[in-house]
């Protein structure tokens, strides 16, 4: 078997909408790219920017952050906070030399299994096109420390 590039993608999904969208995709037997592995958080607001940095540092080529649609958050409005963090994080990543296209935000309601599946496949191909992420481990470590809770990311 040939050794070729297969992106590894980590998906952070919220318990109420996007994790259920993934369940829904499964129940509907909707096929999508297998490169993604999901971590369940209670809310997209739980996403600590460090998780994303650690994922990239640990070998992920892409990270998906997914939650309920704006306005539909189970915790009222925490996904807006996730959204704010997401945009800042993308900016930070590009400052660190990581293509912002490796980080994706997806709103998916519990009913949107098809959308979830389609978007995961699309994202996988986008990341595949970007190629493997070779992040120098020391740079990764530095990044991790520098990002660790700057007030603007937290707010």
């Amino acid at each position: 078997m040939s050794e070729k590039f297969e992106p590894v993608i980590i998906g952070f999904t919220c318990n109420w909408c996007s994790y259920r969208a993934a369940d829904m995709a499964g129940m509907g037997r909707i096929k999508y790219a297998p490169n993604i592995r999901l971590i369940r958080l209670m809310c997209s607001g739980r996403l600590d920017p460090t998780f994303v940095i650690k994922a990239f540092a640990g070998g992920a080529d892409g990270v998906l952050v997914s939650g309920c649609h704006p306005g539909d958050c189970h915790y009222i409005e925490q996904n807006y906070k996730a959204m704010r963090r997401f945009y800042l994080l993308r900016k930070l990543l590009s400052q660190m030399g990581i293509e912002p296209g490796r980080l994706k935000l997806l709103w998916a309601s519990a009913a949107e299994g098809q959308i979830f599946a389609d978007e995961v496949t699309k994202f996988t191909e986008e990341v595949r096109a970007l190629g493997p992420l070779h992040w120098d481990p020391t740079a990764a470590l530095e990044a991790e420390q520098s990002i660790y809770q700057p007030a603007e990311v937290a707010a």
């Binding site: 600590d48 994922a55 309920c68 009222i76 595949r128």
Partner: protein
């Protein structure tokens, strides 16, 4: 190297998982590769959730002294509770058990067995890493307030309210209209038995209105909801009725004397009139009228006051204002029902343009003995009895241009209409249908009966309805044009009257309602149940239930069944007196807290307060819902969350990043 003793269990789920994941291989791999992570036993089994599967785990806990358990099977949303309970019975703290999904997230979506097997390994590895960091926890227990709020007083809400009230618990019912009864109150006969709608509904309405355990707010709306299961706070807006209900006897003199007549768009479906002061119908519950301020001459012009003058008890009160009430309730049932599709959206059917095209709700009012024509089926001119009537199925349903779903009741409703037209007018009846959907007890039999009555059934979706005559004999008629698909010929059927069996749609304000109560709705706007088969009346939000057409189109028997089912769930909870809640909570390490207060405005539930004298923040565990946003936000890393701690998440991440994809070719063809 972990010091835990971990047991790993891989489920076949019959062929659901084993079909595309080599479960034996995953189990073998976990036992070997994860040995130094603490895995001491790894097994695969046909059905882990069966009692034998659960016993397997319990036996290992006892015999091998397991300190952690990982089950790789279906979604935690299905069986997390099952396996936690199994561990508990086996003597292990339930929160030391992780269920990871290799079915919904693996076997069902990846047809390639090699791919599925490798992904399953990564998922198991993530679960093992995470479980190491899990902590033993005790579920939180909070008392449950037995008061239940029912929103919507249609047949579904009425049934739910009566069940709860009859079980001895207090109910608050909120209905937007001046009277409860919902759509069923508008009908004359109900299929398939042709029971008189009012005869079976009115006693229930009266029972609600006079029940000692029911507090009824009509002409009212819920404007705010806060809190959580067992302990919600709701605000109810009582719109000003302009009638003092303490004095009013419901004599109806005000309605009689009121000179202002307006079209009633709600109860009469726009086909009849009411007064500016009105109860929608004589059997209304409550019996007190309301003054429609948008139409009352006094409110518009400052004169009239006829109602006030004639009211024998002095109950009219023009100065009343909207009132707000706040209640604590434990659980909530939403039974807000449906709205009728606006048939004007299909211009080729001519509704609103061609006088004798009626909607189904209009026709219900036409046949109703208490309706605008006293039950006579006549044309829009109010006198002419139609000699031929076309009934059009699937108007706005099963159509990508409008609503893709089947409205479920309109085939039966159309058959009911065919029968009523025959019975009342003897007219020729043409039913234009697509498929005849009669899937419930007694329904097909009703279809047989209508067939025998000589109704013409034409299979084909109506293309257009026009008054433009093309051939002699069409003049002055409505012409229904369609293909009779069974013979493959285009037909033009001239008739006097057309009835459009319009779709049932979600309430127009579904978005606001879903948001207000914090639950989800489908793309179309139907409220979403927790599980489409196994939990059809609960929602994702603990303590909030749905019943009737708010959940999706259905007939009266199904609406009643759901109302009762939701009530049973509510009563079950109340009887437990306490609600156990997942102990997913944030807590602040006061040593680490720098007092920056960033977390304070992070929490939408106001669970975090700043302690001024100690200059640190604190979480109130009763208010915290465990979203974790504050955990992620604290720059000092002072906040930690249970179940999903930083360490546990990062460990799971580590496990998931298992490097095993490189040998597979996953590039899409």
């Amino acid at each position: 190297m972990s010091k835990e003793k971990i047991g790993v269990y891989i489920c076949h789920c019959g062929s659901n998982i084993a079909g595309t994941v080599d479960v034996a291989e995953v189990s073998r791999w976990a036992g070997e590769a994860l040995k130094d992570r603490g895995v001491v036993v790894s097994r695969d089994y046909k059905f882990m959730c069966s009692s034998l599967g659960q016993e397997l785990i319990q036996k290992d806990i006892k015999e091998q002294g397991l300190t952690r358990v990982v089950v790789a099977a279906c979604s935690p949303h299905l069986h997390e509770q099952t396996f936690r309970n199994a561990c508990k019975e086996g003597g292990l703290n339930p929160y030391l058990c992780e269920l990871v999904s290799i079915r919904e997230q693996c076997s069902w979506i990846h047809p390639d067995k090699a791919v599925g097997t490798e992904k399953a390994k990564a998922i198991v590895s993530g679960g093992v890493e995470k479980v190491i960091w899990d902590e033993p926890l005790e579920p939180l227990r909070v008392p449950i307030n037995p008061v239940t709020l029912v929103v919507g007083g249609g047949i579904a809400g009425i049934q739910a309210a009566l069940e709860v009230a009859n079980a001895g618990y207090p109910v608050i019912m909120v209905e937007r209209e001046p009277s409860i009864g919902g759509h069923m109150a508008q009908f004359d006969k109900t299929f398939p038995t042709l029971d008189c709608s009012a005869c079976i509904l009115t006693p229930r309405m009266v029972e609600v209105g006079s029940h000692p355990n029911v507090k009824l707010f009509s002409y009212a709306e819920v404007t705010n909801v806060s809190g959580y299961v067992g302990n919600f706070q709701v605000t109810i807006k009582q719109k000003a009725r302009s009638v003092n209900t303490d004095l009013c006897t419901g004599c109806g003199i005000c309605q009689e004397k009121c000179p202002k007549k307006v079209i009633d768009p709600v109860f009469e479906a726009g086909l009849g009139y009411r007064k500016a002061v009105y109860t929608p119908f004589p059997q209304a519950v409550p019996k007190y009228p309301v003054i429609d301020r948008e139409n009352c001459t006094y409110f518009l012009k400052g004169t009239c006051r006829a109602c006030e003058k004639f009211c024998p008890t002095g109950a009219i009160d023009f100065t009343q204002e909207d009132e707000y009430f706040t209640f604590d309730v434990g659980q909530i049932i939403l039974a807000t029902g449906w709205d009728l599709f606006d048939a004007r959206r299909i211009p080729q059917y001519g509704y609103g343009r061609l006088a004798n095209v009626f909607t189904s709700l209009e026709f219900e009012r036409l046949t109703n003995a208490a309706g605008p024509t006293g039950g006579k089926v006549v044309l829009r001119d109010g006198v002419t009895v139609p000699k031929s009537v076309a009934i059009v199925h699937c108007v706005g349903s099963r159509d990508q241009n409008y609503n893709p779903y089947c409205s479920a009741i309109c085939c039966m409703q159309s058959l009911k209409f065919a029968h009523l037209v025959h019975e009342r007018t003897g007219a020729e009846v043409y039913n234009f249908y697509l498929e005849m959907r009669t899937p419930a007890k007694g329904y097909e039999e009703f279809y047989q009966r209508v067939l025998e009555e000589g109704t013409h059934f034409i299979r084909g979706k109506v293309a257009e309805i026009t008054d433009a005559a093309r051939y002699p004999g069409e003049e002055g008629k409505l012409i229904v044009q369609a293909e009779n698909t069974l013979i493959g010929k285009q037909m033009r059927v001239p008739v006097d009257m057309v009835i459009l069996s319009a779709a049932l749609e979600p309430r127009r304000d579904f978005k606001e309602v879903a948001r207000l109560f914090g639950i989800s709705c489908s793309e179309e706007g139907w409220l979403i149940e927790r599980h489409p088969k196994l939990d059809p009346v609960a929602t994702m939000t603990e303590g909030i239930y749905i019943a009737g057409c708010a959940q999706g189109p259905k007939d009266i028997p199904a609406s009643v069944a759901q109302g009762a089912a939701a009530a049973a769930r509510v009563i079950g909870k109340i009887q437990q007196k306490q609600i156990t809640m997942e102990p997913i909570r944030a807590s602040i390490d006061q040593e680490k807290c720098s007092g920056c207060r960033i977390c304070n405005n992070m929490c939408p539930f106001n669970a975090i307060t700043f302690i001024e004298d100690r200059m640190v923040s604190e979480v109130n565990p009763a208010l915290c819902q465990g979203c974790g946003t504050c955990v992620a936000a604290c720059p000092a890393g002072a906040i930690s969350g249970t179940v999903f701690s930083d360490q546990a998440i990062l460990a799971q991440l580590d496990g998931l990043l298992l490097n095993n994809l490189k040998t597979l070719d996953l590039t899409p063809a």
